[in-house]
């Protein structure tokens, strides 16, 4: 981060481009001291934790640099956890993206500054970003063993949801709660792209003798495609890194990566393998960095149509 800050062009160049008067900068006292509290804070509570978390994978227990801890990433149990994480994230990202895109299309029927629309936005924000543990409770109350829907199906229709075993407190049980927060996140991320579609484009197509179908295939789909793919990546990253819902649902075992980090953190002194949490964190960040880089590249393409 620090390197990136220093690597930027000098402030004066941008200032002039911005339309500001260069002499002003000379008249006024330096304001850099105003930036130090934040810089120190970010250094201590963002940079240091990042370095510690990712760096412990490269040292042995007694502090010597080594790559041996990284071997933990190749263990079958860890590989299986990454596989399960990817599977859950992949399924919920695709389902969430498709359903979310349909909801976005539906939302275009509402006034963008209306009350309903802003309530939908608020609800989407809550479910997408702040649900965590509470969504786990919501689904336990719905399709847990004692859940309302489970019991309704059992007593009214005689259908036992858990006839083939209680899958709800295992990895498959994550799918429904995850889709429940993925769809709102899709609505939040994809909606700007959908509202960026100009009605004039459709008129232009019609003027040129095109059909609605041609407008859809030649204009709407190409314009929305990068946004859609980007959103899928973001949803994948979101599910991949989400911990609270899984932790509240699955109290035993470590079937996905975040839960493996929990297990490693809780038991590290017992096993004498101090670095496992750090190595897992490293593996996770590598995945996240790849996903978020691709996302921001696609986002840049998307924003071209939103001005």
């Amino acid at each position: 981060m620090v390197a990136l800050v220093e690597g930027r062009p000098p402030a004066a160049d941008r200032d002039r481009l911005d339309g500001a008067r260069p002499p002003r900068a000379r008249r006024r006292p330096a304001a850099w001291w105003a930036l130090t509290p934040f810089a120190v804070y970010v250094l201590l509570f963002l940079a240091v934790p990042c370095v510690v978390a990712l760096g412990t994978g490269f040292v042995t227990g007694d502090g010597r640099p080594s790559l041996s801890a990284l071997a933990a990433l190749g263990e079958p149990l860890v590989l299986r956890a990454f596989g399960s994480s990817a599977l859950v994230s992949g399924i919920t990202a695709v389902v969430g993206a498709v359903v979310g895109a349909v909801v976005c299309w539906g939302l275009t029927a509402l006034r963008s500054d209306g009350l309903v629309r802003s309530l939908v936005d608020s609800a989407a924000s809550v479910l997408a970003q702040f649900g965590g543990v509470m969504l786990a409770f919501a689904f336990t109350a719905t399709i847990g063993i004692q859940g309302v829907v489970t019991q309704l199906l059992l007593t009214r229709l005689g259908v036992d949801v858990f006839a083939g075993g209680v899958w709800f407190y295992q990895v498959p049980g994550l799918l429904l709660p995850y889709v429940y927060f993925q769809v709102p996140l899709m609505v939040i991320t994809f909606m700007p792209a959908v509202t960026g579609l100009k009605p004039q484009w459709q008129e232009a197509v019609a003027t040129l003798g095109g059909t609605r179908r041609e407008h859809l295939l030649r204009v709407v789909v190409p314009v929305l495609a990068p946004a859609f793919v980007g959103s899928v990546l973001l949803l994948f990253a979101n599910a991949f890194s989400s911990y609270a819902t899984a932790a509240a649902l699955i109290s035993q075992g470590a079937q996905i990566v975040p839960l493996q980090i929990r297990a490693a953190l809780v038991s590290e002194t017992v096993l004498g393998r101090e670095n496992v949490a750090g190595v897992l964190a490293l593996g996770m960040v590598v995945v996240m960095v790849v996903l978020m880089t691709l996302y921001s590249l696609l986002q840049r393409r998307t924003e071209r149509w939103q001005r």
Partner: protein
């Protein structure tokens, strides 16, 4: 092609919304129905709701009270932290160091790529130092939370910053002889009040919902105590989760309304009115 533009499928689109909305209401409705189950399991009553307030259960819910208290303290401290540390920095960078705008945004978005579950691995050693220096009071967790809310708070303030001609306003204040602090309090803060309010409310919503860091650092907050209570008394946990979701929804609804009310405010000539669009955390946040 025979239908007019604007009309096609409006009813269909609304129907789709209604169906998805109904499906998404099921878990929430199930929480309500679950919490209304009577103690003997045969019917429905308000027993579990009244039990929460009953004095004889005070002991059972003591950890919940502690968790709620801690979370409220944390929400307040984190909001103050964001307003005192992040906002002045953003304003100074915006006015004096335009070259740092992108790097600052990059720093504020790092917590998106480095999720809480990764951050907590590195925070554990940091907190062993923090508790030696500042004690192990509940509020210290706010230092970590301040980082996790950076992406949300940055976005909220940035939206307002982009829509306000702060440069002209502060120049005017300086021309009229106002000092730095007076300008900050009487010009910058009132101009950015929507963004500041949005940032504070989103911060509160994030802090009240945070579980990962609190649980792995063994702190007692609303969410960790909910998980603990849910093992012995799932009804109390579901009721409180419902209330917490409702509170977060109300906070964000206020943010949304405040943001969209922005179109009616006086905007300096030459500025894009549409840029006052709602400021709530809009994307890229997990």
């Amino acid at each position: 092609m025979t239908r007019r533009r604007g009309a096609p499928g409006t009813a269909l689109r609304k129907a789709v919304l209604a169906v998805v909305g109904a499906v998404f209401a099921v878990p929430i409705a199930a929480m309500v129905a679950f919490s209304l189950r009577s103690a003997d399991g045969t019917g429905h009553d308000l027993g579990h709701w009244t039990a929460l307030a009953a004095p004889e259960n005070e002991r059972a819910y003591r950890s919940l009270v502690e968790g709620v208290t801690n979370s409220l303290v944390l929400a307040a401290v984190t909001a103050v932290l964001v307003l005192v540390l992040l906002v002045p920095t953003m304003v100074v960078v915006h006015l004096r160091y335009p070259a740092l705008v992108r790097p600052l945004e990059f720093v504020c978005l790092v917590p998106v790529t480095v999720p809480a579950i990764v951050l907590v691995v590195g925070l554990a050693p940091v907190y062993s130092v923090v508790s030696r220096v500042a004690g192990s009071g509940a509020w210290t967790l706010a230092l970590a939370y301040g980082v996790t809310v950076l992406p949300y708070a940055h976005r909220a303030v940035q939206a307002d910053l982009a829509a306000t001609d702060l440069r002209t306003l502060t120049e005017a204040a300086r021309t009229l002889g106002s000092g730095g602090v007076a300008t900050l309090l009487h010009v910058v803060v009132p101009s950015l009040r929507r963004g500041l309010l949005a940032a504070a409310f989103i911060t509160v919503a994030v802090v009240l919902g945070e579980y990962t860091i609190a649980s792995l650092l063994n702190r007692v907050t609303l969410q960790t105590s909910l998980v603990q209570v849910s093992r012995s008394d799932p009804f109390a946990a579901v009721i409180l989760a419902l209330l917490a979701l409702l509170l977060a929804f109300l906070l964000l609804a206020v943010v949304g309304r405040v943001g969209s009310a922005g179109a009616g405010r006086p905007v300096l000539p030459g500025r894009d009115v549409a840029a006052t669009a709602p400021a709530p955390a809009r994307k890229a946040l997990s």
